[in-house]
Every structure is written in structure tokens, then in C-alpha cells.
Symmetry: C2
Subunit: 272 residues, 2 copies
Amino acid sequence: MKLIENWFSERYSDNLQLSFRIRDQLLSIKTDYQRIDLFDTYDFGKLLSIDGTVQLTEKDEYIYHEMITMVPYYFNKKPESALIIGGGDGGAAKRLIDLNFRNIINVEIDENVVEVSKKYFPELSESFKNKNVNLIIGDGIKYINQTDKKFDRILIDSTDPVGSAEGLFSPDFYRDIKNHLTDDGIVVTQSGSPYYQPEALKMAVEGLSSVFKYVKTYIAFIPTYPSGFWSFTMASINGFNAREDEYIKGRYFNGNILKGCFDLPEFVKNVV
Amino acid sequence: MKLIENWFSERYSDNLQLSFRIRDQLLSIKTDYQRIDLFDTYDFGKLLSIDGTVQLTEKDEYIYHEMITMVPYYFNKKPESALIIGGGDGGAAKRLIDLNFRNIINVEIDENVVEVSKKYFPELSESFKNKNVNLIIGDGIKYINQTDKKFDRILIDSTDPVGSAEGLFSPDFYRDIKNHLTDDGIVVTQSGSPYYQPEALKMAVEGLSSVFKYVKTYIAFIPTYPSGFWSFTMASINGFNAREDEYIKGRYFNGNILKGCFDLPEFVKNVV
């Protein structure tokens, strides 16, 4: 008989929380940028939390990572180069490798995220060993200002727009991004829960729209994120032309999702 | 300073729960069929729970009720008559009235659900006062065996397939349903969370497929239901032909959702 139960709870507001029963807390560190916790949960395997919010779990990370990489992949000329800002777990880089990107630069500000992922999510962080991936520990905003490279895809795989990630949702940053996209390039950012964080989605859409002519929001279901419902917003200089490729199936993504993910509920349309 | 906090938690498994902070518990009764609890929550207004699972909240009931009524509405000949099995809160009947159904029979097994809704969700239960709605307190399975009426739409607006609602997911029941649909008729059932309850979805799809030639599953995001992701499955004798009507917008439903809700993630396709 187990007398003590341990739970990790993410508070969605003062009045709502999702709780995961855990076998153990494996790590809790305070870095220069954030607090990082690692839990071994019963239902979702290992869970990485940053500042108390779920970033990824072993069981459902595939949804977020497929959707941030595969949806923009199938538009415009077949992409080969990518810049990932954030994504220190390696999950986004992993999917880009699977999609045959040749040249991936991943700029993560907090090397502790990389170290934690190497230890606890080796199947994701192994992407940093790939010869086509160049991991840089540094500030994405500074990096984009200094480099003269251009990219076919830029992924903003960040935490929510509070604290250290706030600058990643600003028009100034989006302007710098634009200067480092190829003509056919696409930038994509996670843009929060349309239900609980409509202001994050609004920031992304309005910021990107002030810089880019073409902006599109798409949605996915992610059970361990607030409300189970998440948004991504992508932008481009010259539009979005769907390629006629055979679609690679993910565990979430498929050819139907590529169409249906742009069909937004009315309450989301009212935000974007 | 508030020293005591009260929370209502729905357990999704032994290891996962969503918790709502509540101002007060307004009701807790044990009926012949189930336990009914009514909470006044901070974030979602009044919340009706049956056997510990959230049935509806003031704030997000519109999503479930729009999706169970409006999606099947836009296929085949314009429907006028409907049978609702379950739905004692009145929310489904309310949307059918808005869609100009002329003849609605609502069979609810537990009159306590109706009484609770009359007291706490008057904007839903007022539909039972409408001249086009006939509320019958009784067993839906018995009702369908006794009536000789046929309906353009049959809505199975039930709890999950455990306990008293289990029979509402059985092939025998679906066969009776088929005999009481008009030629152009459509039956729709809620079919659970594809993520946490794939067996409920499987029961509905396999049961309906054993009786009907045409079966289609669609999805919606519902923040207060397990995983935030829900499925509905509809079936018909002669297929689904989309009408070219102007779409009435709901707060969730719109013309895009009518297309996109049938685009299923790969892990859901693997269930249905």
C-alpha cells in the first residue's frame, strides 16, 4: 500500500490546474534564465517543465514537434536550410533531419536545457550529434542580428511570451527574421493556447502581420498543454503555395491535418 | 485573506486530474441512475458533473452543443424532426430550436438532470418550454422500441459508455435507431476522447459501422473534457451530401470547421 502520492501541477490560472502523478522528481535547477524541473510521470513518461509550465513529455511531444516542422515544410520550394530559435531539447531538429534538411542551425539560450535533454530525452537530443545540425548556445535575437546567413525555414520554438522569451514575439525581432529568410522562406512560431492565452496568439499574429504580407495561424490538439489546444502562426514574404509532394505521415500529422489545421473555430478567428 | 480553498477535480486516470477552484458546491445528489454534483467554479461558471465527470460548464457548453447539432444539420435534406436521447440539460434542444427544427422529442432517463438544469442552467432548460419540444422522462432504448415515429436526426447526447449509458453504444441500439431514421436521416453520438478513451470511439464506430453503410467521425476542442479533445461520430443509410446553405456561425462552429472537423490526426485514424 502506497501511503504517499506525489503530484506535479501546472496552474493554468489561479483557479485551474492540471496535475500529473509522479514517480519521482528527477531534477530541479534554477539557471540564469529560468527554473527547470524534470518529473517521471505515470501517464506521460518524463516531463520537462520550465518555470512551472509543461514544455514536453515523452508521450505527446510528437504532436508539437511534428506540427511546428511538418506543416510549414509542405509549402513553397522544398526547404533545405533551417534556423531553430529555442528548441534546446532537440525535438524540432530531429524532425527536420527526418525531413532531409541539409543545414540546420539551432540557437538555444540556456545550455542547461540541452544538458537536461541529453540526459533525459536522448532520443531527441541525439539530433545534436547529426552532421547537418549546428548547435549554438546563445541568444537568438543577437544571433539573427549578427549572421549574414539566410534560411528557408525559421522556427521560433520558444516558451510563452513572458520573461526571457518576450522579445521573440516582438515586431523588431520579426523584422530581423524577415531579413534572414530566403525569398521562398517561411517563419513559424508557437503562438500559445487560443483559449487561455489569446493575447499570446494576438501578439504573434499582429507582430508578424506588421512585417509580413502573408500570415496564417494553424491549430493542434496537445493534451498536456493548457486547454489541450494549441496554435502556431507562420508567415512568409511571397505567400504559401502547397507542394504536391507525397505526404509523410507522422503520428499526428497527415495530409488531412495539413488541410484541416487551418480551419479555425469562430472564437479563434475572432482573435486572429 | 482566504485561508481555505475548495477545488473540484476530475480524475482522468489514477494519475492525472484537472482541478477547478470553486466558490461553492451547490448540490450533490444520488439518483437512481447516477451521482449529480453542481459546482460554482471561478473560471468556467456553473459546472455540472455526473459520476465525477464534467458534463457541461456555463462557459464552454456551446462547443459541445454546437458541434453535436450543427455539423449533422448541414448534410442531406434540410431536417425538421429530431430525437434527442439524453441531453436533459436542454442544451442540444436549444440549438435545434435555433436551427428551426419543428418537431423535437427529448428523452432523458433521469428527471433530476432536468430539474438541476431548470434551476442552474435556465438559459438551456428554457428550451423545454418551447412548443416544438416534447420532453419525455424515460429510457431512450425503450422509447425507440415503442415509438413508430421516424426522425430526420437522432442525437445520442449521453454520458460515456460505462454504467447506465453503455447500452447507448451497442449495435442492437444502433439497429433500432436505423429503423427510426427517415431515408435522408442522420444519427450522431458523442464518442469520447480519442486520446484517453479510444475504446469509446472504437465502440461507437464499430457499432455504427455494423449497422450503417456511411459512418464519419469528427472532432472538436473542448477545454473542460478529458484531454481537451473530443469526438463525435455520425452515421446514415444513404450517405452525407453537404447542402449549399449559408452557414450560421456559432461561437465555435463555422463553415471552415464544418470541413476541418473531419480531418483527423493520424492517431485518431488508427482508431476509427
